[in-house]
């Protein structure tokens, strides 16, 4: 491996979160972004083809070294690692609404889910998965919520653009458009 690739590997190994391309760039100001990207690809191929126990994943707008899923059960069984706690359905639903409607206020979340959302919103904020991203224009200038990089990390996504598009879902409905009036009862 060349020096740049070794440098990237060391940084990604030591970092406790996904490292962005700009951050990796700081390791060697003389390297061009293309060179950094090429080195990342080289490192990824090395892990993929060399039969390593880890892989180089691109997620949450950055890069991170992750253990391979086929080893997960044994790692967890030996209590060397901890799987993240599962979120409740209520929390997941709220996250789904936020992810697709962000920035979105509490009233809209409650309207879509049909239940009060303040408790769930607090939980999501505490766990760093959702955050206040602004204030709305309406009465009382309500707080607006959005998802965080940790949300992407939790799902292993690069960006929110990787979420399934609404027209790809089995339930075809463009939000806020009323369906055809049903036949008379």
């Amino acid at each position: 491996m060349d020096r740049l690739t070794r440098l990237l590997e060391a940084a990604l190994f030591a970092a406790s979160r996904p490292v962005t391309l700009e951050e990796l760039q700081r390791l060697d100001p003389e390297a061009t972004p293309d060179e950094v990207r090429a080195s990342l690809t080289a490192l990824r191929l090395r892990y993929d083809e060399g039969g390593h126990g880890v892989e180089l994943a691109e997620l949450a707008d950055g890069w991170q070294i992750l253990s391979r899923p086929d080893l997960a059960d044994q790692l967890a069984l030996a209590q060397l690692v901890e799987r993240p706690r599962r979120l409740s359905t209520a929390a997941m639903e709220t996250l789904a609404v936020i992810a697709y409607r962000q920035p979105v206020g509490r009233a809209e979340i409650e309207e879509i889910r049909g239940v009060a959302a303040d408790g769930v919103l607090r939980l999501l904020q505490e766990r760093g998965l959702a955050a206040v991203v602004g204030r709305g224009e309406g009465l009382g200038r309500p707080l607006l919520y959005g998802t965080t990089p940790l949300f992407l990390e939790l799902l292993g996504l690069k960006t929110t653009a990787e979420l399934p598009r609404l027209d790809e879902l089995a339930v075809a409905l463009t939000p806020l458009v009323a369906p055809e009036p049903a036949e008379g009862a």
Partner: protein, 244 residues
Amino acid sequence: MTRPVPPADEPAFVVHLAEFSGPLDLLLTLIRDQEIDITDIPIARIADQFIAAIHDLGLNQAADYLDMAARLLRIKAQMLLPIPADAEAWEDPRAELVRRLLEYEQIREIVGWLVERATLRADRFSRGWIEEAPERPAAPVHLDLASLLQAVDDVIRGIPQPVLHRVVPRPLDVEGATRRIEALLVERDRFEFREALGADYTIGDVISTLLAILELARVGRLQLVQDLPFGRMDLCRGPVDQAA
């Protein structure tokens, strides 16, 4: 896979409310499990099943469920009205509910996708925890008898002796010095500063006595007389007493 659809007068649809994330979830489950056409919901039957579900499980305090129950009953009532001849103007009272249900169903599908992704991601461990790991119980302790006895001994040794009363010497005792000087003033008209110090005095006693003298002089109980610089300093009974 079809389930027996209960007749409208027997809304015995067994559900566990705790499994539902809200009234829309419950409603959608009732509709989908009975394979009902969502655009043509038999509102009377569904309303009865819904109310039975929230009633049986004693959760009828839950405002969100009650709100939905009220909506369903309102739609049920509206459906009883005859459709006007001019069908163009007729708006299905269920339309808004259908829209919300479909929107909610979409969220449900997204949740399924999110859970799947999160499960896959949870099998790939990174260096940093996604969140702080819960505290693990401490490993069981291994020890022999000697170290156990030693530990007990250490604890017993550590028990402090009971302290009932502790006398703390006060560094300065201006009150005591004042009383001493006042006693001397009763006996004698004039005496030397040193005599006011008492026996075996410390630097604390000197300062206390000086402060007491200055205070007594200030209130006029005594006068200070010093004939020469750095000479002996005498305390005389003050003008107040003389006046008396």
